[in-house]
């Protein structure tokens, strides 16, 4: 039973560029949440997708957008990258109507230069 997978593992981008991060949820899960974790800080909620729609959003600008596909996998897109976007991006999956526990992927380390 595969857990949550994310790709790529590491990514280096230049300011102003755009980036797409990918997440495949744990088998059987239908909800994907994205978190940003800056160095030395706890994760911060970006948004959550369920039934291919953004259901809830944290305090992040519109430069951050996402998508969920019919197979429940998800993408996080960040436009016009800033140095401050450098962080570990974590994907978490869960079952909307099930247990509260969320399963996290290993994360994508994004460095913006």
């Amino acid at each position: 039973d595969a857990g949550v997978t994310q790709s790529p593992t590491h990514l280096i981008k230049t300011r102003g560029q755009q980036v797409t991060l990918r997440c495949s949820p744990k088998s059987g899960h239908d909800t994907v949440s994205w978190y940003q974790q800056a160095l030395g800080q706890g994760p911060q909620f970006i948004f959550q997708y369920y039934e291919e729609e953004e259901r809830q959003r944290g305090n992040f600008p519109d430069r951050f957008s996402g998508h969920q596909f019919p197979n429940y996998s998800s993408e996080l897109n960040v436009n016009a990258l800033l140095l401050g976007d450098s962080a570990l991006y974590l994907c978490a999956s869960s079952l909307r109507a099930g247990r509260v526990e969320q399963y996290f992927g290993p994360g994508t380390r994004l460095t913006v230069t």
Binding site: Y35, Q37, Q41, P43, F45, A92, V100, E101, F104, G107
Partner: protein
């Protein structure tokens, strides 16, 4: 912004000793969860305590919750070197409804010396 704060920010103990970490939060919650993170990688769920519970055990872990003080503590008994990691508390606010959005604290870095 972070919902809560962990205390202490860093903790160093000898193998076999107990480790206690505290978490404070700001808003009313559905539940509080503790996660472990090794070396900036993914988070591993440790234990969940609901707002109507006061104490919960899982193996060497003991969690308490005081909703009147908006605080929680995580006790790891008989610590091992493998327990070395960052520990985060995360709250699910009442306002999150079915979205189950988690709000994390800033974490405690635990180092267990062999």
């Amino acid at each position: 912004s972070q919902q809560g704060e962990e205390d202490p920010q860093a903790l160093s103990i000898q193998e076999g000793e107990n480790a206690t970490m505290n978490c404070s939060y700001k808003t009313s919650i559905n539940n509080l969860q503790w996660y472990r993170q090794n070396s900036g990688r993914g988070l591993v769920h440790l234990i969940l305590i609901r707002s109507n519970e006061r104490e919960k055990h899982s193996g060497r872990l003991r969690v308490t919750l005081d909703t009147s003080k908006k605080s929680s503590s995580l006790l790891i008994t008989a610590s091992r070197a493998a327990d070395t990691a960052s520990y985060f508390c995360a709250t699910e606010p009442l306002s999150s409804g079915s979205a189950r959005q988690l709000t994390f604290g800033s974490g405690t870095q635990l180092t267990v010396l062999p």
